[in-house]
């Protein structure tokens, strides 16, 4: 490995979710220079959109706040939001990375006062609510946004709304002349912390996600349960706003399926078990959660959580992969299938169905550098020369806890790559 010596000591971290933030901080706190690029307008990724974490049921704001504080206090990390990687050339120790930076139309003078949002009339689908709610076209991504700055949606640029926003701003923070920029940066090692996306549930045709309003995904359910979400934390079903007390959770919605995702997404069993807590907390003994599963896969110590949920009389388990969903005249989804414990045929109506959708790599459909190795599901294994590596759920389906572990490991690998600059080069 002595042949490839880093000529550049900077570590580039692609993706600013929990894994990217962690990898960047771990490397930076070891004294390395880090550039953290994020495609979105804020750091935090999908973690920031969760209501609570398993198994301790704490809120992601807590974990994020600690990390964002570490980030603010560290001079070694340079954060670039709205920056997307266009291409990577070079090799281990010496990469040139082309970035496209999209305009935010808001500069660093923004105090997040919200006057621009009040002035703007146009609304857009809120990108942080999985399509469940609208937001003004001048918006703060969410309460934990980093940087704490508003964004103008490109759709209002050139309209009267944009001028209204600028006129409303007391701090001269709105800059409508911002344009796309392309910049090139140098890095010695690259950590791909590009994360995951929920599998497109509409592709699971028999479940009718695209046909039935009351069939939603697990990530959408997180938003429903969240006090900052579209329903203010109430579990109201989309079709008629009725309280959803009798909720079905369908496991392996897309995962472990040769027609969809081949892999087990690993977190979905725990996610559904966790979400039964939300139902119980909302309705007490009147809650009713039913988990339809092939087999429950909770890993090592998380088994305790499963055992506790099994004790809950409001939660029942049906060992069966649901064959199809229909809808009755009241808009209730009706689940059809045959259970494996006795081969009983069932047709059961629920208020709401939550599909525990699988995780697929966010990078599926995006062209990655040629020398990055992917597994059969598209998860990143790294480059052959180790100059690039994956972190967190970009590498396999991981929960937040394991993503952070993976990211710390990735930071160490990246440090080893760039560290060769001073030691090996000095020795020569």
């Amino acid at each position: 490995m002595t042949s490839s010596i880093a000529t550049n000591q900077t570590i580039l971290v692609v993706g600013g979710g929990i894994s990217g933030i962690t990898a960047a901080l771990e490397a930076a706190e070891c004294g390395k220079q880090v550039i953290l690029v994020e495609r979105d307008a804020t750091l935090g990724g999908r973690t920031a959109l969760l209501y609570r974490y398993f198994p301790k049921m704490c809120h992601p704001t807590c974990g994020l706040e600690i990390n964002l504080r570490r980030l603010k206090g560290n001079r070694n990390v340079r954060v670039m939001t709205m920056a997307e990687v266009l291409g990577v050339s070079g090799q281990r120790g010496d990469y040139a990375v082309k970035l496209k930076i999209s305009p935010r139309y808001v500069n660093a003078k923004c105090t997040a006062c919200g006057d621009c949002a009040a002035a703007v009339e146009a609304q857009i689908d809120n990108p942080y609510e999985y399509g469940l709610a609208k937001t003004k076209a001048a918006y703060l991504p969410h309460a934990m946004a980093y940087p704490m700055q508003y964004v103008l949606d490109p759709s209002i640029i050139g309209t009267a709304d944009a001028d209204k926003a600028r006129a409303a701003c007391k701090y001269d923070a709105i800059d409508l002349d911002m344009r796309d920029e392309t910049v090139e940066i140098k890095a010695g090692a690259i950590v791909w912390a590009t994360g995951w996306k929920p599998y497109d549930a509409a592709k699971i045709q028999p479940y009718g996600y695209d046909r039935f309003a009351n069939v939603i995904t697990s990530v959408e359910f997180e938003r429903l349960a969240n006090p900052h979400g579209p329903t203010g934390g109430k579990l109201l079903r989309p079709s008629d706003g009725k309280e959803a007390r009798n909720i079905a959770f369908i496991q392996c919605a897309g995962s472990r399926d040769e027609n969809h995702l081949r892999h087990c997404s690993r977190i979905c069993c725990m996610a559904s078990l966790k979400q039964t807590h939300y139902v119980r907390e909302a309705y007490g003994e009147a809650a009713k959660s039913t988990i339809y599963y092939i087999d429950i896969r909770v890993i090592d110590r998380l088994e305790d959580f499963y055992l506790k949920v099994q004790q809950d009389p409001t939660v029942s388990f049906v060992k069966s992969k649901v064959a199809k969903i229909a809808e009755d005249k009241d808009g209730n989804p009706v689940l059809h299938g045959v259970d494996t414990e006795g081969y009983h045929r069932y047709a059961t109506a629920h208020d709401l169905v939550v599909l525990a959708v699988g995780m697929e790599p966010e990078t599926n459909g995006i062209k990655l550098p040629d020398d990055i190795l992917l597994d059969s599901s598209g998860f990143i294994e790294g480059s052959q020369d180790d100059g690039m590596c994956g972190a967190g759920s970009a590498t396999s389906p991981l929960d937040v806890n394991r993503s952070v572990q993976s990211a710390t490991a990735a930071a160490l690998r990246a440090i080893q790559v760039v560290h060769k600059t001073s030691t090996v080069e000095g020795a020569r």
Binding site: P206, C252, R256, D257, E258, N259, H260, I294, K319, S320, K321, V322, A323, K324, H336, G337, V338, D339, T340, Y343, R345
Partner: protein, 207 residues
Amino acid sequence: MNDLNQQAAAHYGKNFLKEVEDRVEDGEWVKMCMQCGVCAGSCPLGPHWEHSPQKIFRMIMAGKRDEVLSSDSMWMCTSCYNCIVRCPRKLPITHIMHGLAHYAHKLNIAPKGQPTREVARLFWNSLVQTGRVNELKFSLAVYFKDGFVRGIKNALAMQGIGLKLMKAKRLNPMEILGGHKCKDAGGIKKMLAKAKEIEDRRQGFSS
């Protein structure tokens, strides 16, 4: 024929799964079933059979040889392919069900008088005579398979359709005299005999 059944049972002992893997078309897929139940829930005839595919596969793994081979469930399959399309492990379920039916028929322990089995037998018997199915004789054979009175009733009930088919030249009444055949009926017979020989050898029946 029942010797065949006894020989097979003796040869494989309690390992019915192995027997299915060796002798049933696509039988090697059975062990891939993870018992999720999607096939059972997706089958449009599901409520009408005794054993769903899911249950049949479990019974095979549990060594329930007689119950599986004498079940009428695989004869109820209409080849709609819902199960194949939805199976998360891509088991060729329809084909396995047909393979099981064929194997049970060969061992002559498939349910007697099962309508699908009878129709298939009549179809096959007609086909092997001349290399062509004699549609008239085949239809009559199907009508009369449950006795003379039943046959007359069936024929009368289908009369209208039969006349329309004749008018449209889809059914030739002269077929009753023997009917059309392929050019080399002897060749067809030889070919089928060879195919049977190959199949028997593969299934370990040749002696």
